[in-house]
Amino acid sequence: MRTAIVLGLVLAIVASASLARAWDGDPLWYNPANGKVAQPYNVMPGGGGIIGTGGAGDHAVTCAHCHIKGDASYGTIRVSFNPPFGTTYMPNKQYTVTLNLVGEHLGLSGCGQYVLGNINEFAATFETDSGKVAGAMQADYGSTASCPTTPPPMGFTGATMMYGDCHAIIAATVKDKTSWTFKWTAPPPGAGNVTFFYGVVDGDCMMDSLKDDVKVGSVTMSEGVMMMAPPRPPNDPASTFSSFSSFGLAVPAIGLVVALRRRRKRG
C-alpha cells in the first residue's frame, strides 16, 4: 500500500510537470531561486522574480539565459506582432497587442504520456529609457493597475498573467499556444522613448529548459506627437501602433500636403 502511495505521488509529480517551459507551475516565477517556499509548491526553486524579458527590470536577463539551445540547427523561430510595432506610440493610448510565435517546430509530436504536452511561453514588458515600467499592461490575469500578489488559481484558463511585482506579462500554461494577446496603455506625455522587450520559447517535450528554441528581442518606439483628433474608443481598430505611427507622422505629412498645395497655386 505504501509503495502504491509513493508511486502515485511520484506519478502525480511527474504528470503535473510542464515541459520545456520556464517553470513547473505558474507560481514558480516568483518563488525564491533556492526554494524553501511553503505549500502548495513546497521547496520548489523558482525564478526569484526574474522573468527574463531582457529589460532592466530583469537585469537584462533574457529567456535565452535559461533556455539554452546549444544546437546550431535551432534558432529558427520568429516572432510577429499584430499590429506591427511602428516607430512611435501615442501617449495614454491603449493598444491591443498580439504576439505570435512563428515557425514552431518543437513539441509538436512525441510528447510522452506523463507530460502536459506542447507548452510554449512568452514574456514581455515595456520600459522607459530609465528602465521603469512604461505605461500599464493588462493580462488575462492581473494588470499593472491591479497587481495580484499571488499567481492565478488552479483552473485558470486565460492565456496571459501578471502577478508578484507585475513588471512583466507572462504566458500562462496553455497547451499548443503560439499566440498571445494583451493590452498595453501607453504612458502619459513626457515619458519619452519606450522599449518593448520580449522573449518567446518554443518548448520541446523534455522536462528541462535545454534545447528549446528561443527568440528574444526588443523594439524601441519614440513618443508620438499628440494631435487634435476626435477621441476613439479603446478597441477601435485604429488603436494600433501602425495607425498611430502614421498618425504621428501625420504632422509632417499634412505639412507636405500644404506645401504642395501652395506650390500648385503658385504654378
Partner: protein, 247 residues
Amino acid sequence: MKTITSIVAAIALIAACGDAATKDDPCPRGLCTGPSGDDGGGVTGDGGTTTGDGGGACRESWGCTAWAKNAQGQYTRTCTDAAMCGTTNGKPNEGPLSLPDLDMDFYKCKVEPIVDRGCAFLGCHGTEAGRVYKVYARARLRRKETVPAMCLQTSPQDLQEMGSGTTMCDGWLPHTTGEWQENFDNARAFMVGVANPDDCELLSQPVIGGKNHTGVHLFAKTDADYTTIRQWLSGTKLGSTCNPDPN
C-alpha cells in the same frame, strides 16, 4: 489634389509601418554572451573573466576543475581552454594558493540565494565550460555526481544528466555536499589577492555602474544583495549553523 493627398498618406503609412528600432536576438547560438562574456573586465587571474583575446583571432574559453586541497593545505585546480587557442592570456589562477577563510554558514544562508537567483542561469554561470565562476543550483546546473534514484528510476542517477534545467525529480534534490563546497570555493576564490571587497569581481562585475558583464547588472551598491555579499567577503560570520535544507 486628391491623388497627391492619397500618395502622401500612403507614404506616411508605409513609413510608419516600417520596422521600429528593433534589436534582434542577441543569442543566436544559445549561449548569449559567448563563453567569456565580453565583460571588458580584463584578465585578472582568478576573476570572472576567462577571455584573453589580446587582440588575437582565437578566443580563449577557460573552464576549471573544482578547487582541491593538497597535503600542504593549499588549493589547486586545473584549467583548460575549450577553444584550444594555445595561448594563456586569460588563464585563471590554478594555485597552489590559500583560499580566503570566509564563513561557509554565511555563504549558505545569505549569499547562495543571491547567486542562485541572479548568476546560475544555464547560459551564464550555470555551465561547466568556459566560465571560471560556476554555480550549481537547483533547477539550473547540477554537479556531475551520482545520486540515489528519483521518480520512476530504479538505479542511482547522474545528477547533472538527470537534474539540470528542471525542478522535477533529480533537479528537485537539495544541494549536495559537493555542490555546496564547490559553490563556496568558487565564490571565495574571487577574493584571492583582493584587499577591498568592492574590487572583488563577485561584486564589481554585476554591480550597476561596474564592469560591463555583458550588460547584466543585478544590484546597486546600496542594495541589500550587494551589502550582503560584501559583508561575507569582508569576513562577517553568520554566528550560527546554517541549515539551508532543502536547498
